[in-house]
Symmetry: C2
Subunit: 342 residues, 2 copies
């Protein structure tokens, strides 16, 4: 899922986004609550109509953002109070409030409100947060009023395999329509992410979508899929695009690099995207050097297409029974390719 | 002509630009010479191929920019020396150099290198610059090597009708493929612009394209067309878009205005553009408030479509013989609508 924080995937129209091959997108409850407010989104006919995206949408719960972005945070069993970065008002987000907001926004998949303690934390703090996340999930289920929206639970548990296992088993018993693994992209080492995913994903039901939150690029996606993950979201393809960086065949290219100034090839001659069909590396390099917004649009189109295409190729390999060999480059964690996560 | 200074119309792909109804675009010799350099544009197959625009392109000569943007300017009969804002190097632009660069860039229409004294100036200075512009034009014609590119001359003469008339008559005798009126958007009053156009345009051959440089919005376009002008360029539709401003039926709307927050109509229900077909004022207002780049793209699409549509309606009215009555609102300079120029 490309990330469309504020009811748009940055720099792209829905038509451009559709052409990348993206199917589902993620939007952020925390941000939309602050601006424009869920009431205005609902007034516009709900998130799909408001932003002109007729594909599936998932909203996160706001939990992650409250813990990573907001100031003056106060956590209690009831929920979290924080100061609005827009107008300084104190806002309270609780499991009930998060679900009400998500019901109002109207995404196809909504997420339980979870506690994500910022890394590093003690085992005791993680255990407390994981248990509270479970109690909050029960309140989310209780509050949820729109059965056409699928409510996913989130497995927390930090870097502790036993806490992850316990949480995964407890959530599985609730027979939810889908499950997510949360809290893995917040400052942890890539090796730890892989370990958590390898431990947790197999404990979640194979007949339900399994979603690894906030991950990733090539390597993380390949390893997570090998562990059973079906769904990802990541800001990297679009964020890197806005930094003038292209993702090409597993590499990361800074288009400001002098070697691209007179390189009249497309980014990737085999890529089917609008950018690669119409423009050269030299042109994109020129736009990046000139800080022209069009550079970020063209690179976003390419990077999203690239990562979606990567998952399409994995799917093809799985169907052909050749995933482990075709993607050995990514699945073998011992080789020298730099680990990337986000 | 929408303005594509650095080989792109800001925030728009060529596909989006094409859908606005725009036919010809303008690009800037001064800017392209500094970045990426005309050699790289030529290496990419010339301006059309480099930027992916298969419609007509006009390049200006760099004269206007040298006089309005550059520092450490030294003017002589030979040309202009100035300090590059990129690397501080001294660059010399002469009539010969401007034409060579434009020949290398490869636009369909290229412009003579002219002297544009910044306003206000004395009559004596204007007369000197106008006479030098004529001598420079002769050198441009001499240098021009690509007959498939149409070289247009530029009538200068400031606010002085007799200087404008003398220049227009002298240029007409050169039997160029097209003529421009320059130096009218640099700090002059709208009434003076209208007066200059009314005096100058009728002196230029009716069977050649007549181009009013750097103008304009609704009123200036209508009045100039009434005087015989065929061609315009203006940054206003795209610049206003990047300031969150929509051009709607002759009005100028700031989408940050509170009245748009919950306004679920399109900008203009009769507008055929992608923005008006897919998004509401409330959505665009949300994007502008959030400083999302997509806001500027959607508003650029709309604003260019709007001004192109305005000229299409004028064309229709002229063919029907009803221009003067259909556009009385714009042609009558005595009414209270604010004069806008750019």
């Amino acid at each position: 899922m490309p990330v469309g924080t504020l009811a748009n995937v940055k720099t792209l129209t829905p038509a451009q986004l559709r052409d990348t091959g993206a199917q589902m997108i993620l939007s952020n409850t925390y941000h939309l609550h602050l601006q424009p407010g869920e009431g205005i989104v609902a007034g516009g006919g709900g998130l799909h109509k408001f932003m002109g995206w007729d594909g599936p949408i998932l909203t996160d719960s706001g939990g992650f953002q409250v813990f990573s972005l907001s100031e003056m945070r106060k956590i209690s069993e009831r929920g979290v109070k924080f100061r609005s970065p827009h107008d300084g008002q104190i806002i309270e987000l609780t499991p009930e409030r998060s679900i009400e907001i998500q019901n109002t926004l109207g995404a196809d998949i909504i997420m339980a409100f979870d506690e994500c303690p910022p890394y590093p934390v003690s085992r005791e703090e993680v255990e407390t947060a994981t248990e509270r996340t479970y109690r909050w999930l029960l309140r989310c289920i209780e509050t949820h009023k729109r059965p056409e929206q699928a409510l996913f639970g989130i497995v927390q548990g930090g870097i502790y395999s036993d806490l992850r296992s316990r949480a995964a088993n407890a959530l599985t018993e609730l027979d939810l329509p889908g499950y997510a693994i949360g809290g893995v992209s917040v400052g942890e080492e890539p090796e730890l992410i892989h370990e958590i995913v390898r431990v947790t994903a197999p404990l979640l039901p194979v007949n339900k979508p399994r979603y690894l939150m906030g991950v990733g690029t090539y390597r993380e996606i390949a390893i997570a899929i090998a562990a059973g993950i079906d769904l990802f979201d990541c800001v990297i393809p679009t964020r890197w695009a806005r930094h003038g960086t292209a993702m090409v065949r597993g590499e990361r290219w800074n288009l400001k690099n002098a070697r691209f100034r007179e390189d009249f090839q497309p980014l990737d001659a085999d890529c089917p995207c609008y950018t690669c069909k119409n423009f050269t590396r030299a042109y994109i390099s020129h736009l990046v050097r000139s800080q022209e917004i069009l550079a970020y649009t063209l690179l976003s189109i390419h990077n999203i297409t690239e990562i979606i295409h990567f998952t399409q190729k994995i799917r093809q390999s799985i169907l052909q029974g050749s995933f482990a060999t075709d993607f050995a480059r990514w699945l073998n964690t011992d080789n020298s390719v730099e680990l990337e996560h986000g």
